[in-house]
Symmetry: C2
Subunit: 371 residues, 2 copies
């Protein structure tokens, strides 16, 4: 059975374990993003070695290439990409809005043109669930409408209401698909940065009794304080006994603040994408390895990190690789950033279990890297 | 002390061990190419795991970026790139001819413009040795002039004679640098496809008493039969007690034929470069994984291969990764091709040791993959 077991709370923060058919997920959890059936530049064993319990796959990308039916014929996403552990798939809605061309939204769903070849596709709540069942992800997400902020309140309210109706349709489709035991469907709270809309969305979704709840439509350009205030206005109206997932977030400091406000799960392309671009997250802050000051720096990226990049290579070597556009540069930088994110999550889980979350947050904000 | 120990011969073929200060090299040996201080797309541990005893580094690329003095300040090439095993460096001559702009050749050496930023550089026999000593490679190569074929006999003879004079200057510079024990300098036989010029070059180099001898200026477009004939016209005039290295070769069938003719060492970008482009070498021939027929092929690239790509992934997944330009596609395809090349070398060494080289060659030519 899919469930979250809360081992400890500390203020609003929680730590625990999510049980799935394919293994357990220590929470708070960071999910590396595996857009096209690969966490970019990483062997799955290397992703696992950083401490990742679960990764995310993108319905939009996978439905276009290689196609959900094809993945199903090849044994499902886990077998296809050699990741036998839990996978969460998003619903495709966010990417349709941000990547696809010629979108047309209706009550029924959304039609769009592929950013790869211009071909026409449709995504409805039912199709989004069907694709995720074909991929056989452990956690499926409802289809939602995510509005770019800032947006008029009416527009935000409309999208929130549509997302609620789609949540109900997704639940019906998910149950009708008779998924194997341990598979979950999460709802997505919308409502922009309007506290009353967020509360309305959260309460209506809670009434649907889904397996978990995400906060969508955040980290889309609003200030961090606004995002934190929105989490505070939402989390109390979500059932404590279900996982809470903040979608697409974020920077390390965002994770610390969101965990303190009761979030259990995160995903973000930041550690992987910025790693490929030469940005490293370290315990002394972020650095851009392309900077000339690293050209003869024989020190590791972060002396307290145990990742392959930090244990076996100098900043000078990483500088060289990234400047020369060498694939190994992307591999090592990604590997380091994912390790940093997982080390941060391990630190957060430890702080919550020890009742030290406030101290952890304070020291983190002072630049101490208490992990 | 640097030396080759011949364990067995079978016809002209030899198998044995080269001893260096940084470890032994089983021969016949294939050296993966690590142009810019990285075997492209590979962690050094993964290169080692394929069975590689030695890799090649490129003087031309490393002198331009990150610079030989910089590598020396960072502890040498082995430490820089985390490869503690033997490294052979070429002299830069071949890349100056094939990559650099505005070349000017004289008795003294060659001046050229960097293909990276247009900056001016000079390479003399003495500077080529100095760079290789700064990198601290285990096997350094003399600077030579490599003529594109076809070329007039006079031009070939002239380049061969210049290369001989440069060999003597390299030897003087190498000895004057007082290298640590176990470091070697190899001469390079030139002479195009003219048997008498090759013999003259080989005999003159042999008289210089270098630690090993390479055949340069082959695999530059001539038919395989001509390359084989040139090896046959050269190898007998090289000392049997020194390693023989065929530079820049080649396809798997080239390696089999050259080993049968007495070659001990090879390097080639083919397994790495073609891997990144989607070509896989298998025991049933080469295949292009981009081909649509692999889109739903659940079989491994080569069922008899033990590399990570073959043990954990389908052709369909590799097809997807390469089509989607995913870095993991380059990683897995390169990994497979390097494993294939090392497996071939293991097979050749076993055949020679067992006195079965003729049988191995015959079966290989019939497409049987006797390894």
């Amino acid at each position: 059975m899919f469930r979250i077991e809360i081992a400890a709370t500390d203020g609003a923060a929680r730590c625990g374990t999510i049980h799935t058919a394919r293994g357990t997920i220590r929470t708070p959890a960071f999910m590396p993003v595996g857009t096209a059936a690969t966490v970019k530049a990483m062997l799955p064993e290397a992703v696992r070695a950083t401490g990742a319990d679960i990764i995310l796959g993108n319905t939009y990308h996978l439905m276009l290439r290689p196609g959900a039916e094809r993945v199903a014929r090849l044994g499902g996403l886990h077998r296809f990409m050699n990741w036998p552990h839990p996978i969460l798939t998003d619903s495709g809605g966010f990417q349709v809005m941000s990547l696809a061309g010629l979108r047309k939204l209706s009550e029924e769903g959304v039609t769009f043109r592929s950013h790869l070849d211009g071909s026409s596709h449709a995504l409805t709540p039912e199709r989004a669930v069907a694709i995720q069942r074909l991929l056989d992800s452990d956690i499926a997400m409802q289809l939602d409408e995510c509005v770019s902020l800032p947006a008029p309140r009416d527009r935000v309210a409309e999208a929130m209401a549509l997302s609620l109706r789609w949540a109900a349709r997704c639940k019906t489709a998910f149950e009708a698909s008779e998924p194997p035991p341990g598979r979950a469907l999460f709802g997505i709270v919308q409502g922009g940065v309007e506290p009353d809309l967020r509360r309305e969305s959260a309460e209506a979704l809670a009434a649907l009794d889904l397996s978990g709840y995400a906060l969508g439509g955040l980290a889309v350009g609003e200030p961090q304080a606004v995002m934190f205030a929105t989490i505070e206005a939402t989390a109390p109206f979500l059932p404590a006994a279900k996982p809470r997932y903040l979608m697409g977030v974020g920077k390390p400091a965002d994770l610390v603040g969101a965990v303190a406000r009761g979030i259990d799960m995160f995903d973000c392309v930041l550690p992987t994408r910025s790693g490929r671009n030469g940005q490293a997250f370290t315990r002394h802050g972020a650095l851009n390895i392309r900077n000339a000051r690293f050209a003869e720096d024989g020190a590791p990226l972060d002396p307290r990190c145990a990742c392959p990049a930090c244990t076996s290579y100098s900043r000078a070597y990483l500088h060289h690789l990234v400047k020369a556009n060498e694939i190994l540069g992307a591999v090592l930088m990604t590997s380091h950033n994912l390790q940093h994110y997982q080390d941060l999550m391990t630190g957060l889980r430890g702080a919550i279990a020890a009742g030290q979350m406030a101290d952890f947050s304070r020291r983190y904000d002072q630049g101490e890297a208490p992990f």
